[in-house]
């Protein structure tokens, strides 16, 4: 077992707990934006994709990395964009039309 595994496991478990505590407090009102926001944050795999594509080791790994860059970066851009659009719509009092 590589030594990094244990430290990664620590991080995973602690982050999981933090996630549970923070997300438990998210209002059900915002569950759709929550999903699109976590999607955008999850798109951070783009950093790994950039390394794989940028190392340029073999043609295969570069192509795989390039697909991964495009797929995850579209999630990052699109996820933040739609989350912000949705949250902008939530208003405590609608503009009065009378």
């Amino acid at each position: 077992m590589p030594p990094d595994f244990i430290s990664n496991l620590y991080v995973f478990i602690l982050a999981g707990f933090v996630g549970f505590q923070v997300i438990r407090r998210v209002s059900p009102l915002l569950h759709t934006p929550l999903m699109s926001l976590t999607n955008a944050l999850d798109a951070i795999v783009v950093v790994a994709a950039i390394i794989i594509a940028g190392r340029h080791e073999t043609r295969l790994t570069t192509v795989l990395g390039a697909i991964a860059v495009a797929a995850s970066f579209s999630n990052m851009v699109g996820g933040f964009l739609i989350t912000d659009r949705m949250l902008r719509m939530f208003k405590s009092r609608g503009p009065k039309k009378s």
Binding site: N8, T32, L37, D42, G54, F80
Partner: protein, 462 residues
């Protein structure tokens, strides 16, 4: 600057990004702070991407820049879709996230020398989960976009077939762990896992999509976290753990709201109970009303609760519903909205649609908070919701949805249900609510019917 020191700077930037990610999710605890949360997340993500581009391991920028532009070119339109398309967009983004994680895992297998057995185990698990999430999410998106039939597609022995395919993928993974250098098995394993994702989601019906989307969200997070293990990247471990726990929490909430066990969901057996449910249909009488009558009853009420469901989303009636809300509020009627956790096609779907129509969010009330108020409610107006209002879930032990928490609309003084016809939905479960003496059926398209009511109300005002 030596390379080692640079690496430490990069790691430090990732830690900052991770802290911003957690603050970002924390922002969502209230609508007021939520937009700041998104900004924190954006800064964190931008920081992580920029420092990664500075990583000396990146030797060639051409393809990175081209694919970043392609990614943005795909992402921007997907971020600008209409609010009614948000469920399928979300499913598609789960697919993209999983595709990305799976591709990197595959690349990692082919990079350098053959992995050790332990690394092979990590890679295999990561690639299997990523692949099945990719195809599963594509199927879910296809169903939500109605490219694929929303009905559950079931056949005899389905679970045995699906689980055998999964066992096949896991078996190949074990074989690879035994001999990581066996490069012919690896692509076979990926294909089998991709196939399993299709089998996993195909049998699931549209009404179960909130659970499925949450579960796929969780899987996408887990695959990213596992990728973090493979690459020894803590920022991926944290982001994946946050996404995974978020999806898991939502899945549990959705399961509870449908009274389904978690095992039931894990084995993809949804929809099957319902398929056998088209039971005896007695010829019972229903009372129906015209828009004119409905408007009269609503105008005379003090307290009205509107119960929206997927039918409202399909008819795109949310803006008309907002006009109805305005017209009634102007007359001094107290109008609130009762939101069932699984109303619509994804968690929080109704809230987003109603917020889009400019209905203030403090008028959107969760099931547990509003159920006690139905006995004091003059009119419960159900728009395009069915199973979540079915009193059989409380009383009929033989009903397939028995035990599912519902909105107690039948306790309101008058119930009005806007529905196209008396045909039960594809779930095929009869709703005794429609036959109550206090229930008025308003037959028609949700959008045009609400429009007619609004017309009547404004006509009376002049």
């Amino acid at each position: 600057m030596t390379e080692l020191a640079l690496q430490q700077y990069l790691d430090f930037a990732y830690i900052v990004a991770v802290v911003l990610f957690i603050l970002s999710l924390k922002g969502l605890s209230s609508p007021a702070s939520a937009r700041w949360g998104v900004l924190a997340g954006e800064i964190g993500a931008a920081l992580a991407v920029i420092v990664t581009l500075c990583n000396p391991e990146v030797a060639q920028y051409k393809w990175i820049l081209i694919t970043l532009i392609i990614g943005a070119g795909v992402g921007v339109p997907l971020g600008l879709v209409h609010m009614t398309a948000v469920p399928q967009r979300t499913a598609l983004s789960h697919a993209f996230g999983a595709l990305s994680a799976a591709m990197i895992g595959v690349a990692e297998y082919y990079v350098g020398t053959a992995p050790t057995r332990f690394e092979m185990g990590e890679i295999a698990l990561e690639v299997i989960i990523g692949s099945l999430t990719f195809t599963g999410s594509l199927i879910a998106a296809g169903k939500l976009q109605e490219i694929l039939p929303q009905r559950p597609i079931v056949y005899r022995g389905q679970n045995i077939v699906s689980l055998s395919v999964l066992a096949g993928a896991l078996g190949l993974a074990v074989a690879l762990v035994v001999n990581p250098a066996n490069a012919t098995l690896f692509p076979v394993m990926v294909i089998v896992a991709l196939f399993f994702g299709i089998l996993l989601v195909t049998p699931i019906g549209g009404a179960d999509m909130p659970t499925v989307i949450s579960l796929l969200n969780s899987y996408a997070g887990v695959s990213a976290a596992l990728l973090g293990f493979v690459l020894n990247s803590k920022v991926l471990v944290v982001a994946g753990a946050l996404d995974g726990s978020s999806g898991l929490i939502l899945s549990v909430i959705m399961c509870k709201a449908m009274n389904r066990s978690f095992t039931n969901v894990m084995f993809g057996a949804f929809g099957q109970v319902q398929a056998s449910a088209a039971g005896v249909q007695e010829d019972r009488t229903v009372r129906s009303a015209t828009p004119d009558e409905a408007a009269g009853i609503l105008a005379a009420a003090n307290k009205v609760v509107i119960v929206p469901g997927y039918g409202m989303a399909v008819a795109q009636a949310q803006h008309k519903v907002r006009e109805l809300y305005d017209a009634l509020t102007k007359r001094g009627v107290d109008v609130r909205f009762a939101i069932h956790p699984v109303a619509g096609r994804m968690p929080g779907h109704m809230n987003v649609l109603l917020a889009e129509a400019d209905i203030p969010y403090d008028r959107l009330i969760e099931m547990d908070d509003i159920n006690g108020d139905f006995p004091q409610t003059d009119v419960a107006l159900v728009i395009g919701a069915n199973d979540v209002t079915n009193p059989a879930a409380r009383t009929d032990t033989g009903s397939p949805i028995y035990g599912m928490p519902i909105l107690d609309v039948d306790k309101a003084r008058t119930v009005m249900v806007i529905k196209r016809s008396m045909n039960p939905g594809f779930a095929g479960i009869d709703n005794p609510l429609y036959y109550l003496d206090k229930t008025l059926m308003l037959f028609g398209d949700a959008k045009s019917f609400v429009n007619s009511i609004v017309h009547e109300l404004s006509g009376n005002a002049h």
